[in-house]
Symmetry: C2
Subunit: 301 residues, 2 copies
């Protein structure tokens, strides 16, 4: 099964980066695209995010072998319904959503004639919109493919090959397991970052100017991910509720233990945890999932 | 009042960076140094972190106009007692600790004949030890000076000028206010980062390998600060207990509200917070306290 025409629905950070990455890495693959927002379509045309930015979703998907829905998780069902009348039977429909059980269910319900192969490229920045994409976004990053039970192997392979063609490393996973792993590695970190940035800006005795001024002490690491797309993240938390609440419960238990250790002056409990977490950082650097330079190679100003 | 001889006690990331920064920016100022660890002294000599690495703390401080204690907050009182018999009356003694009320009290108790002017350069990396320092660490970063009531103005000016000479921007602050501001901007972010990294590594259903593999989804931003020096951070939490527990209480209240919003499917509450936190990120970038490039300019691999 060969993918020669890809339709990208939603031309923000991820959709735009896919289009640019296809042009750079898979020059024989034709791309069409559509976005519900006419301004985004205009900007996508100017930047050349895909080969053809279509005026209607029908035109964008009519000839595609593979349709990739790059919209917030809460809009996936609607996007699927919008393309349903216009795709050919047997078209592969995939997505890039950060939660996979609910999205997979929504896509299969809306698209009974399509071959649904959900996927999640674990890559992004805090930027969003049609100006945010760049072709290297997926390079050396993982893309998790979560085929439903009984999915045809050739379609799974086609989606996997496509992502590898863009420079990603592919992993096949059960949707439920994906949702738990991502709750830990992505969703809860985002929730915590949003919370602490909000807490800091609400304090009466510390001004917002002071928070900003002294953010180099650690706070700024949280603000980056707390600047991510609000719609996307609202939808992620609502759609992956069970796994998020499960991991959040563990986190708050652990935090209570440290709170008590601080109150009681129990330095050993603090030290033991702080020593242990260093090893994980080391492994992430060794795996090539981050940069070891001080401050990630940030400039001084 | 002119500083011409500076003694640096403790030759890790901060002490070593001060020594290197003096050589680069204030070539007329002589530096001596000492560390309680003989291996650190040997490595400091090899790297030339200060002009003279002394064999005894007495030699290091005997001629100094300014002694800077660069040891973990919990060791400040001991370091002060160690230098007390060897400094000249009127010597300025400063430090670099991340909490200022308790450190200021400890230094003044141990050094009645010295002029104590505590300070806190808000700069650092997750690295520690005599190999970690570099001369640009303080450039364009804030250094908060917290003179006790009645401190002589010429000594405050001398410490401020010294830090400005190393490229830092200086702010004068009350010690208690410093401790609250830093609890928000630095101590709580570190505590949360340590906690979530610990939580993630303790889950039964998600392997540590998976956590590491998919850390690019947000988790890795936390691991950087959770790799910081465990002794230093244990001491920070114990010495700044009241402010840390105060801010932590606010944070857990705010987190509970979001937890309930997720449980109830209340997307508006989530969206409103996520939208608000973006503005803070924008201000940090505008203030030059971080780098706006995607992923802070991290390399792909």
């Amino acid at each position: 099964m060969t993918i020669s025409r890809v339709a990208i629905i939603g031309l923000g950070l991820i959709g735009g980066s896919i289009g640019l990455a296809v042009r750079e890495n898979l020059p024989d693959v034709a791309t069409t695209g559509w976005d519900a927002d006419a301004d985004v379509r205009a900007r996508a045309t100017e930047r050349g995010l895909v080969g053809t930015v279509c005026d209607t979703v029908a035109d964008a998907v009519a000839e595609a072998d593979l349709v990739i829905l790059c919209v917030p998780v809460g809009a996936m069902g609607y996007a699927a319904q919008a393309i349903a009348p216009h795709i050919r039977p047997g078209t592969i429909v995939s997505d890039v959503g950060s939660s996979k059980r609910s999205v997979g269910d929504a896509l299969r319900a809306a698209l009974p004639e399509a071959v649904v192969i959900p996927a999640h490229p674990v890559a992004g920045t805090e930027k969003s919109g049609p100006d945010a994409g760049f072709p290297e976004l997926f390079r050396h990053r993982w893309c998790i493919v979560t085929p439903p039970a009984g999915a045809p192997q050739d379609a799974v392979d086609a989606v996997s090959d496509f992502w590898e063609g863009l420079g990603a490393k592919v992993e096949i996973m059960e949707p439920d397991h994906h949702d738990l792993v991502l709750a830990v590695t992505s969703h809860i970190p985002h929730l915590i970052a949003y919370t602490i940035v909000g807490t800091a800006s609400d304090l009466e005795d510390v001004t917002r100017g002071e928070v900003i001024k002294y953010s180099a002490g650690g706070f700024r690491d949280f603000t980056r991910i707390a600047a991510s797309n609000p719609t996307m993240w609202r939808d992620v938390f609502l759609s992956n509720r069970d796994a998020v609440l499960e991991v959040l419960g563990r986190f708050t238990e652990d935090l209570s233990l440290l709170q008590r250790a601080i109150r009681n002056g129990d330095g050993d409990t603090l030290f033991d945890l702080f020593e242990r977490t260093r090893a994980i950082r080391r492994s992430i650097i060794e795996e090539g999932q981050d940069d070891a330079r001080p401050d990630f190679g940030r400039k001084d100003h």
